[in-house]
Amino acid sequence: MAEYDLTKTIIPYLDRHFAFPLLAHVVDLSIFPAEDVAAAQYELAKGTNMVDYAVNLYEQLNPDTEIPEEFADKREKAVSTNERLQQEAQAVLDVIENPDVVQALRQDKNQNLTYLKDNYGLTLEQITALYNFGQFQYTYGNYSGAADYLYHFRVLSTDTDLNTSAHWGKLASDILTGKWDVALEELNTLRESIDARAASAPLLPTSSHIESLSSLHSRTWLIHWSLFVYFNHPSGRTLLLETFLAPAYLNTIQSASPWILRYLAVAAILSRKAQQATPGGAPTSSRVRHAIREIVKIVQLEEYQYSDPVTRFLKELYVEFDFEAAQRELQIAERVVADDFFLGEFREEFLDNARYLISEAYCRIHQRIDIADLSDRLNLSRDEGEKWIVNLIRDTRMGADAKIDLEKNVIEINRPALPVYQSVIEKTRGLSIRTQALGAAMVRAGTQQPATVEGAR
């Protein structure tokens, strides 16, 4: 299964600290040699301030050799830096935590700054100490602390670059501490800021060159980071579709990271149930409703760049209509999903939904279906298959049209054609609204320039 493993592809787009859980997952899978993974983990840890962790890993790797001196130095240095930064940050924190100050703070950042400066002598440099300390805490793995400091920093600071950086840091900390709700919020604000920056970028050919490149980069990163959130938050999958299918992000996926298509495809397959479960509930956008159709199109387009069992499954099912091949791909896809760091927990759900998709397509195309054959297609035993089909018929709209003939062991599906009157209604539905709009536009135009409307009549 190693050839379908995306860990290596994804890690370059993640923060160093995100790589640890991913690597830990890889260790569990044991598809790569354990020593290699351990070496990779050690190399990663060496670059951080998590000295103890690094030492641990070093011992694991080289059980016989002495621990190098540098670790002790590093540790000492880290501790001293920590103290220094903490003192600096504490000064600011003391001021901010003062209830009077909290009362006095307003929406306007500049005003806040002048207020703090006038009353407490806080300068921008001191506030930056918050950022430094937060960042440092992050490097040695104190994520929740980092998140706090970075939050405070962001509230106060006006420095855009540092603010963005703090944004990313906060998101990373939230993800690593597993606070998915907070992380989701953070993710959304970050996305807004990226989109806003891209939109405000001047359309001049010279600067937009670099600008669009940088927004492409940040979007690629955002997409990869958001995988953590979207596959852990309860309503993450729908949100994932919502985000990733937005034109800007879809472009990013297509041009910079086609492997994300796997997650997109899985999310689309998974979210089928979600909309089924809440009929008439929160209205899902058209984007999510037609997610599968959209994704099939993209999968087809990007086939030359990327394909894996999950995307191939969709392609076989909806492009080739080769149910046998689809079912073959599904078997592999199931294992791929199970092994994937993000998708692992959704294996059952994925399989369930995929089966449903197969049977839906199958029933729509066929008039009479052999139950044995369908069970085969779904990779189920006879009895299971029958149960599955009965559930299917009961769950879905085709309840009235489909009947099981036990004697012949077939399902009969009778789908009466759309009556003519319905198609007529369909065709004339929008007319009145459109005509109204037409009239409104004419009236509006009439108030502005009566002469034109006179002519129009």
Binding site: S255, E320, Y421, R434
Partner: protein, 851 residues
């Protein structure tokens, strides 16, 4: 003709050199400039005058014209003839003038006088003294002028307007000239005999020396520059002329003569070649080479013809020589802009402040020019003759020269020039198959100079192209970047790398800006797009191929858009200038994309797309919406034919194949398509044919189902698979897809293995209701359009309409508006129409705007 920098070289040199020249020469120089300006004035006048003359006095006019023609011929002869002949001719002109004087025709006098002045000036350029005849004429003219003016004052209304104008002009001219030759005139008036004697004495030794005129001239000027003495002229032999010391003076003389009407270019070249032999220092060599190459390029002035091939070869060798010299010697640099220096002095690196001698000139313009001349010669040769092939062999040499220049600029680190030279190199290889490219590169690798970027360093041809292009993306200006991008796309398409080529084309957003590019770039764009279409066809992406080629074929000017032939317009004729410009633009034959093959690819892919669609629709209304208009037109035409014979042309084949496909006879269709001869020109023809056969089977099945479904209740899948000799699985898959997309009202019965058709026949009332609903819908649409047109497409109304029509369209417009790199077939289709318009805007827009 020559680029600005070449001109720039001699110009500033002139004032610096003047003091060294003789007084006599100086007057000549100033005279020539003043007279040339008066020439221009005169030309316009005399034309009108002649017309008027024609009307007035027929006899006179004939006489006039005769004399004109005579003198014209004479002028030509003068260039070659000896001095005596020139004198004779002057006298003849004088006689004509006398005659004109008698009949008081000042227009003729003015013309003749100009001619005479010109002749004298020419003589002075040759450093010959002013003939006394001229001075005498001048004097007599002055007197007769005064007389005429006096007479004119007395007699009212005797002269016509043009004549009077000529008279006044004459007065001015004579006055001016007389002032110039004041001294001579005085001398003549004082002592006519002595003046003539002087002249004879001056002229005699020159006549005695039997030397080519040009050499004499050089000797003259060289000597004159040294000592201001006329009598020594001609004494200096060849040995003194072509020494390394005299080189700069000789160069100066040649540069001054450059561009003048009566300069003998061949002679100049010969002199320069000799100078090159005696050049000693690198500085001298470079200077002489620069002059030599530019005079070689000057040799052919006409825009319509090309440079003689021997000259081209010589120029190529000399540029090679120049580049090699420059590359080997780091102390000399040729630049377009340099600080002023004295052209007549020898310069060495030691004298210069930073140890580098900067020489004015431009190697890149030489390389450009050499390349352009090569292309032009190919344009003029018959592509089917052996000459063409022989000429093509020179490309290797040219390519090496370009690479040499590239190496030079790499060494000197002149990045802008390097980009230009790399573009030239790229243009030679981008459209070549790998084998040719390998051969060219092999020639470079065995030559002595090699640039950093070479095939051996890059591994594969594609990598080489890629590296060259990347260099241009980084360092080139916008035009070069665009051209590099298009060449890159072309190359990818040529190598069947459809997806990369398409992505590059779409991501570069070239189609949005291409209509504002220059014509050559537009042609390159068209070529790239067409090659992309062919590439899609070869890769079996029929739909993509059809969509890509559609734009260019709807314009019906494929040849013109690809610069492979001049478009014949039925109702308008091109002016000669337009035609000339068009001809200059044409690509040499070996770069052509075969248009017949192109058409075959387009029509076959149109057939595969269009025929099933045609079969699936049943109402007349929908039938009008054609996907591919050119194909539909041909098909309709073929339908109207009463009798169809066996197919001959490619089109016939495709039309008959389309008909066979419509009737479900896929085998016949396949045979007809595979019989087309032109496939032979396509690489991997066999694979393409197989692919086409498979496509025909599939589309045949679809067409069959569409056409004959109404006549069946059920249809066995195995029968279908046997009829179309497709595997059962693919039949299943095709039928399933059709059901899923609701193209076919049917479902499968798995247990029996048949397709069950659910055809519902509508009653008349139902049918009418549906039609009514459709009509109402279209009426609303029409109204919306009309209102939109009225309001000038104001955004507020447009948005609202989008909103009312549903989310999907809203999404699409948003996508299109967003400048994200959306790509893919779906959005491409939507853009298709726009791009088609752009195509016609592209080249055609320019054509029409020129009218």
């Amino acid at each position: 003709m020559s680029s600005g920098d070449e001109d720039a070289a001699p110009k500033p040199a002139a004032p610096a050199a003047k003091p060294a020249m003789s007084r006599f020469l100086r007057t000549a120089a100033s005279d020539s400039s003043s007279s040339s300006s008066s020439d221009e004035d005169e030309d316009g006048d005399s034309d009108e005058d002649e017309e008027q003359e024609d009307k007035e006095v027929k006899k006179k006019s004939r006489f006039l014209r005769d004399s004109d023609e005579d003198s014209d011929e004479d002028v030509k002869r003068v260039v070659k003839s000896a001095r005596d002949k020139r004198l004779d001719e002057m006298e003849a002109t004088g006689k004509t003038m006398d005659n004109a004087l008698k009949i008081n025709d000042w227009v003729a006098i003015s013309n003749e006088f100009d001619k005479l002045t010109r002749m004298v000036q020419r003589q002075q350029n040759m450093a010959e003294p002013v003939p006394p005849f001229y001075v005498r004429t001048l004097v007599s003219l002055e007197t007769s002028l005064n007389a005429a003016l006096a007479k004119e004052k007395e007699a009212k209304k005797k002269m016509n307007a043009s004549n009077a104008r000529a008279l006044t002009a004459m007065k001015q001219k004579v006055k001016k000239t007389a002032k110039e030759y004041e001294k001579d005139v005085k001398r003549l008036q004082d002592d006519p005999e002595g003046f003539e004697r002087d002249y004879a004495a001056l002229a005699a030794p020159e006549v005695a020396v039997p030397k080519p005129k040009k050499l004499k001239k050089i000797a003259d000027s060289a000597d004159e520059a040294e000592d201001d003495d006329f009598t020594t002229v001609g004494k200096g032999g060849k040995a003194t002329v072509y020494t390394s010391e005299g080189i700069f003076k000789n160069l100066q003389v040649i540069q001054e003569a450059r561009g003048k009407k009566n300069t003998d270019r061949a002679d100049q070249i010969r002199v320069l070649e000799k100078l090159l032999e005696v050049a000693v220092t690198p500085y001298q060599r470079i200077r002489v080479l620069l002059a030599l190459v530019s005079s070689r390029f000057d040799y052919n002035v006409s825009v319509a013809s090309y440079m003689p091939i021997e000259l081209w070869a010589a120029a190529q060798k000399e540029i090679d020589h120049l580049v090699t010299t420059l590359t080997a010697d780091s102390t000399h640099i040729v630049q377009e802009v340099t600080p002023d220096y004295d052209e007549l002095l020898e310069r060495t690196p030691a004298d210069e402040p930073d140890g580098i001698v900067r020489i004015r000139g431009s190697v890149i313009s030489f390389v450009d020019r050499l390349d352009d001349e090569f292309t032009r010669s190919l344009q003029h040769l018959d592509p089917h003759g052996t000459e063409y092939v022989d000429r093509l062999k020179d490309e290797k040499g040219l390519y090496i020269t370009i690479c040499r220049a590239e190496a030079l600029y790499e060494k000197k680190q002149q990045s802008e020039l390097l980009a230009r030279v790399i573009m030239r190199r790229l243009e030679h290889i981008y459209s070549k198959p790998d084998a040719v490219l390998n051969a060219l590169e092999a020639a470079v690798s065995v030559s002595d100079v090699s640039p950093q970027l070479s095939l051996t360093a890059q591994g594969s041809p594609s990598n080489l192209i890629n590296t060259l292009c990347v260099h241009l993306y980084k360092f080139g200006n916008t035009v070069l970047r665009t051209r590099a991008m298009l060449s890159h796309i072309y190359h990818h398409a040529l190598h069947n790398d459809f997806h990369t080529a398409r992505d590059m084309l779409l991501m570069s957003h070239l189609q949005e800006t291409i209509h504002s590019a220059d014509v050559a770039t537009q042609i390159l764009y068209n070529r790239s797009v067409v090659q992309l279409g062919l590439c899609a066809f070869r890769s079996g992406l029929i739909k993509e191929s059809q969509a890509t080629l559609q734009d260019i074929f709807t314009t019906q000017r494929v040849k013109e858009l690809l610069a492979q032939g001049v478009h014949q317009q039925r109702f308008q004729t091109l002016t000669p200038e337009q035609e000339k410009a068009e001809k200059l633009r044409q690509l040499p034959f070996h770069m052509h994309i075969n248009t017949e093959l192109l058409e075959a690819a387009f029509l076959v892919s149109s057939m595969l797309v269009e025929i099933p669609v045609l079969a699936s629709i049943d109402s007349e209304d929908q039938k009008r919406k054609a996907i591919s208009k050119p194909f539909r037109r041909l098909l309709d035409f073929a339908d109207r034919q009463v009798f169809t014979g066996p197919p001959e042309s490619t089109r016939d084949h495709i039309m008959q194949a389309s008909k066979a496909l419509q009737n479900g006879q896929w085998e016949q269709c396949r045979d007809l398509i595979q019989d087309i001869k032109i496939w032979g020109l396509m690489p991997e023809a066999a694979a393409v044919k197989d692919m086409l056969a498979k496509r025909i089977q599939e589309e045949g099945l679809r067409t069959y189902l569409f056409t004959f479904a109404p006549h069946y209740k059920t249809l066995s899948l195995s029968l279908l698979s046997r009829t179309f000799s497709l595997p059962q699985r693919s039949v299943n898959s095709i039928v399933s897809r059709m059901i899923w997309t609701e193209e076919l009202a049917a479902s499968l019965d798995q247990s029996v293995g048949v397709v069950v058709f659910h055809r519902i026949d509508l009653t008349r009332a139902q049918q009418l209701a549906q039609t009514l609903a459709e009509k109402v819908g279209s009426m609303v649409e029409q109204n919306e359009k009309a209102l939109e047109f009225r309001l000038g497409g104001s955004s507020g109304w447009g948005d609202r309409a989008d909103g009312a029509k549903g989310d999907k369209r809203g999404d699409q417009t948003q996508e299109r508006r967003g400048r994200g790199e959306r790509r893919g077939g779906a959005s491409r289709g939507a853009r298709g129409g726009g791009r088609g318009a752009r195509f016609s805007q592209g080249l055609g827009g320019q054509v029409t705007s020129r009218k």
